[in-house]
């Protein structure tokens, strides 16, 4: 596991990662300057920055997952050949996202300190942070699971000629942009809607929701690893 994590972390030295990591504090600074120089409201800056910073987290995360794309297409990559369980590999990717989460938290903290005297501002509390990370793991696990299941089914579903066009639309088709699209879609659209439905309409407590999210994440992560290891097919 340590070795897997080491190689996941080495990826941070790529230019793409450095740029995204660099953009996050720049955005924070820009937000702070906009408030002081142009009078943009602190609430707007906080919401906008949170969203943009989150895009940073997702972009970096997508880069880590990119090495799984070959598992569903025609290339080969080293992680699929090493004699280690795929579950470790998936866990190492999650752990490798910690530095970027730390950057996110630091930037957010900087904004909360800067705007601490602003009245009526709602900052994330501990439960919200826990939920956010839980939903992030859920989204990633769902995505890998979806790809692995799709890949395992791919050659078993023989479609009639008239329906072959569906292959072109198939949700298991994987490339760099589909990874980004899926993660953005899940995180930006589905996740907030999902948590809103639970907290607003079903009135479930945040702690129970967090428990459900983490339990579902664990099941999906394990399923994704099993599918990758036993049924991946490319």
């Amino acid at each position: 596991m340590k070795k897997l994590l080491k190689y996941q972390l080495i990826q941070y030295r790529s230019l793409e990662m450095k740029v995204i990591l660099g953009i996050m504090p720049m955005l924070t600074l820009l937000g702070w300057l906009s408030h002081h120089l142009f009078g943009v409201s602190a609430g707007t800056i906080l919401q906008l920055s949170s969203l943009l910073l989150f895009y940073g987290v997702l972009s970096i995360s997508a880069s880590h997952y990119r090495h799984y794309i070959p598992a569903f297409s025609t290339w080969e990559r080293l992680p699929l050949l090493i004699p280690l369980p795929q579950l470790w590999s998936l866990l190492s990717i999650l752990l490798a996202s910690l530095p970027v989460w730390a950057t996110y938290a630091a930037c957010y903290l900087a904004l909360t300190i800067a705007f601490r005297h602003q009245p009526g501002l709602q900052f994330f509390d501990g439960w919200q942070w826990l939920m956010l990370t839980g939903l992030y793991i859920l989204a990633q696990s769902t995505f890998v699971c979806q790809l692995a299941a799709g890949s395992a089914l791919k050659d078993r579903l023989i479609l009639p000629k008239k329906l072959r066009f569906l292959r072109k639309l198939a949700w298991w088709r994987a490339d760099d942009s589909s990874v980004m699209f899926s993660i953005f879609w899940v995180m930006i659209v589905i996740v907030p809607l999902h948590s809103m439905v639970f907290t607003e309409y079903i009135a479930i407590s945040l702690s129970l929701l967090a428990l459900i999210v983490y339990a579902s994440s664990a099941v999906l992560l394990y399923s994704a690893a099993c599918l990758l290891e036993k049924y991946s097919n490319y």
Partner: protein, 236 residues
């Protein structure tokens, strides 16, 4: 000699297309096999099944008595035809990666091969030419003391002089405990290496013959024998 790989009635279909159509064959320890055939004969699919990259198939494949999977990955060294390394890697990272994850990796041999193949440790992988990437793949894979080597078009992109050098190294360092399967349609590249050839055509093994038998019985080279067999196949 013990048997390292046995394949019985292996069938692999991609949708309606059949890539392997009932392959039956055995591979013994201490031998270098040529898995030869034209394009789309099923060579790459066969190697991927053995490398535990394709897990859904019909039939039985056993490596040292075990179905390809997590356990066999430690014994099998696979060199794919396509891309292999991460873009962020330097040559030294690729060597370290193999050293970290494969217990049978021989670092001293890797250092020797890097030197022989003129690979700079500090060179970024993404800046290497196709030929240099092929050299690096060969260097790291051949540095393992694996039980089974699966090399898919290993010499594609490698210049003739380097190819000669690598073949020399392979002949001199080949361990009698190992087995090597070279899948290629460039027979002239591997002619001198092979102990036995298996000809694959439309997903089936159509001939299995020792290299010496070809040379002694018909006085042909493996390349000439290959051409004769596949010309007849085409005619029928």
């Amino acid at each position: 000699m013990g048997e390292i790989l046995s394949v019985s009635n292996l069938i692999k279909r991609y949708g309606e297309k059949t890539a392997l159509n009932g392959v039956n064959c055995r591979f013994e320890q201490g031998k270098i096999y040529g898995l030869l055939g034209p394009n789309a004969a099923g060579k790459t699919t066969f190697l991927k099944v053995c490398a535990a990259l394709i897990m859904i198939y019909q039939g039985q494949v056993l490596i040292d008595g075990v179905r390809p999977g997590l356990a066999t990955k430690a014994k099998v060294a696979y060199l794919p035809d396509g891309d292999y390394f991460f873009d962020w890697m330097r040559v030294a990272d690729a060597v370290n990666y193999f050293s970290d994850f494969f217990a049978d990796f021989d670092r001293a041999k890797a250092e020797h091969l890097l030197h022989e193949l003129e690979l700079e440790k500090s060179s970024p992988v993404r800046s290497l030419s196709k030929g240099m990437k092929a050299r690096l793949k060969l260097a790291v894979v051949l540095s393992r003391r694996a039980r089974l080597f699966l090399l898919d078009e290993a010499f594609d992109g490698v210049d003739p002089v380097t190819r000669e050098k690598i073949i020399d190294i392979m002949l001199n360092t080949f361990d009698q405990e190992s087995t090597m399967i070279l899948a290629t349609h460039h027979i002239d590249y591997v002619e001198g290496l092979l102990d036995e050839v298996k000809l694959l055509h439309r997903g089936e093994v159509i001939r299995e013959i020792a290299a010496d038998e070809i040379r002694q019985n018909s006085g042909q080279s493996i390349g000439e024998y290959y051409l004769e067999v596949f010309r007849n196949e085409k005619a029928t």
